[in-house]
Symmetry: C3
Subunit: 368 residues, 3 copies
């Protein structure tokens, strides 16, 4: 947060309205309690987009307020009004982001294969490993301990943070962001037994097993790669497996959080949000603009339609039509889940009512 | 996929029947839509083991078909018949797998302790770290940024991919495969308070707590290692903790997927399949040929018998007898879970029926 | 386990009572079956704190027993009595822990920025990367392939194991332990759409969506860091995201297990236990001495009071008052969950009873 702009310039950059002294210098943003009065060299601007946060505002400071709030009430020197606070937050944090912690240039300790093509202006951090035939786009920034495998191609302006491992045969579009420790292109988890396995048997019978055979697992190798579109982000310590015959695919604009597992052959559409600890099993197909909240699980080989939203910790066992909002384990329509939950909480009382009713009816019978 | 064989040779290697021109050269495998007509130098073979996939077959191409399908119908030049498609897939992908992306020989940037013993033909990638007294078997391939700790012993033909961390005092059999970012031998998560903790209290009382004490956690150190059998595979960014006094153990032939957590002192039998994001808490004992589907959780200190299959996202809180198929949170027999789910979906209707019945009975009572 | 003490010294160090020949030399600890009779140079001590374990004790060996057990019954040469076995285990394992597998001194292959300040006695392993302005306390031990970003400050006696990635702008107190592969300070997962997104819509309406708009996600950058107190432990391949404007915080004495995800802006109190695969979504606030068992999920923006204990795989969607013991998905009071589970198992029978009762009442009505 070493950049500095006037609050007027900042407001214009954020396409927002400014109030008060537009010439004050802004050097960063903070919570209201950490944003003191503006000094001679300016100061940080307080994020106070709700009246709850605004209570901690300090007199003489600058703030970002929600529309309808009164800067005079808080004795501010200047303010920016946010019509859509989270959107303004995006612009503001981008304005003050010093960029990734990767120094310009190619660090001498990086091990770069002579056949790799590194784009103009790209930075490569200490002890990174860039394999043969790799292509890295212009202005990409590759962090320390990153490994990029043979013939992988990454677009321009990528940010690959410390320790991320991108295997051979991966292709990625522009502006890829990979958080530390993420793995792209590990082998798929795909095994087969010589004869029908217990899993195949119960998927067929849906019942108890009659015959248990001792068998070893034979590996199905992963010959496919991983294809990522433009503007994809992969979270810390997440894993995207390579495909068996063709590539596992993640569409443009899709964002994947930390500790997420994407299985082999999965196809994810564009502009999806796959939140922390979600998991998508092999060969599942996810539409566009799908949101999987934290810990959502998707069964293998099923299809999730466009614009589906799955609430936190939902477990999806069967296909979901486009546009549906689902929740629960197993996931059902959100309204249905709400009703089930309500009924569940009343279930112990139901049991009592039923028992009592039975008694009453028995007495009625005896009387009758 | 740079190898090339004739389709006749391939069929014989796969122990499968060949149809058509057995001399055509196969250079790889692909989905039907990506497998064009055979050219003068051969071509890739289409995987079309179901009529759904076969629809995309291109005239003049080669394909793998299921028994009973007719190659002439698709105008193929040659075909291989797969009696058990997934098994054939295993052989086929093995045949065309170019092997891991690790160059032969020992890269000069690797840091190898002089007391380490590296087997004949073993490859060690750039910037790997091999500690003192480590033993690595013949033909092992160790990827870039891999770290192997003091006195760890790994059998022959191991494949340890980029960035995997194997701590000190681990032993592994032959043909170990470790995917990128996996950790083997992190410390167990084991803490104790000076007096009874809240967890111990509620495990004893199963009720609300009467007395809450402020206590700090004292660490129980992990002096044991990890023992892996032959043919074990550990997935990307998974973690297998070391034992407290003795080793955590994974039996031969057991395959572990990505983002799986195996706690300290756990014992897993042979030929198990532990799917993505499953977790096994400390000191649990898992039998042979157990299948834990994706996201299955196993409580600490419990026992899962041989041949148990736990469906997706099951949470197992108590011991499970051998051979059982279970599902749900908490996990119960699959049939029971199916019945519970069915009843749950009807629960809101039950509530209505019960209310209505109560009314009717009240009216009957009044009448009587 | 190369240290050696007499069993008498060990008992005194553990503040426990010793029986038998106090001069025998102890070189380590093991399970009873692996602890043979004491030889001329001493031997390992058997951990036999329950009569179940004690059955495997070998005559002539040394053991740790629970109070009330009789060493003569097992023909032991010496014994230590553990009034609280797990607590004694902590002392015992600490006594024999040889410490982390990191050689003293600074390895020449480490890449250390000249502006970094390394404390006296600190060890830095092969191929570690220490960024500019980093401060590392005295006697810290930094493993191979660890990366520490710009201006991060770590207290004394830290143990950072192989491949852990600590980003820029992180501060940590003393005695920090970071297991292999953990990531501290990855970017938060925070995105916004120009207009209301589907998630915002359903959080507002709790119902099906009337209007689906195609929108891209705009990133909210993470300008905050991560602040860790004293005596914090972070597990293998876990991830703690940095904050948006202020730091994500983990209080002193809090222990975090493997494959745990802590979202941006989260505040965790002191002396908490966050077990394997638990996840805490963005901006949640967790009190002191909270225990989240394995796989517990905490929704974003909610508050968990002091001393809350959440049982295995609980999913917490709403605020939880201090001291409560909760279980289930969605999590409710443990007693309530127990009742719900009991009723659930009887649910199929309820359905039958209800149907039968309905029949009876119908017959009564007809008769009446």
């Amino acid at each position: 947060m070493t950049k500095s702009v006037t609050i007027g310039e900042l407001a214009r950059a954020l396409d927002a309205r400014c109030w008060g002294d537009e010439t004050l210098s802004v050097t960063g943003a903070a919570e209201p309690s950490a944003a003191g009065p503006v000094g001679p060299d300016g100061g940080v601007i307080a994020m106070a987009m709700s009246s709850e946060y605004a209570r901690a505002l300090q007199p003489g400071s600058m703030a970002i307020l929600a529309e309808g709030m009164d800067p005079a009430e808080y004795d501010l020197k200047a303010a920016i009004f946010a019509p859509r606070p989270r959107l303004l937050m995006a612009g503001l944090t981008r304005a003050f982001d010093p960029g990734p912690d990767i120094a310009p240039g190619i660090h001498p300790s990086a091990v770069i294969d002579p056949t790799a093509q590194i784009g103009a202006g790209a930075a490569i951090g200490p002890l990174a490993v860039i394999g043969p035939e790799v292509r890295i786009g212009d202005n990409a920034r590759i962090g320390p301990h990153v490994c990029i495998g043979k013939a992988t191609a990454i677009g321009h302006d990528a940010i690959i943070l410390a320790g991320a491992k991108i295997a051979q045969g991966v292709t990625a579009g522009d502006r890829l962001i990979v958080q530390p420790g993420a793995v792209i292109g590990g082998d798929g988890f795909s095994f087969v037994t010589p004869e029908e396995s217990g899993i195949e048997e119960i998927r067929r019978t849906l019942g108890p097993r009659d015959r248990i055979v001792q068998q070893h697992w034979t590996r199905i190798h992963s010959l496919g790669g991983v294809d990522l579109g433009d503007d994809v982000e992969i979270g810390a310590n997440s894993s995207v497996d390579r495909g068996t015959i063709r590539a596992t695919r993640v569409g443009s604009g899709t964002k994947i959080d930390s500790l997420v597992q994407i299985g082999h052959n999965v196809v994810i559409g564009e502009d999806c949000l796959i939140c922390g600890m979600a998991g998508i099993a092999g060969s599942a197909r996810i539409g566009n603009r799908v949101v999987l909240a934290g810990r959502v699980g998707v069964n293998d080989n099923i299809e999730i339609g466009d614009d589906v939203i799955a609430g936190g910790a939902s477990k999806i066992f069967t296909r979901v039509p486009a546009g549906r909002v689902i929740l629960g384990n197993p996931a059902v329509k959100m309204e249905t889940q709400m009703e089930i939950q309500k009924a569940l909480r009343r279930l112990p009382r139901f049991a009592q009512q039923l028992a009592k009713l039975q008694e009453t009816v028995t007495r009625l019978m005896e009387k009758g």
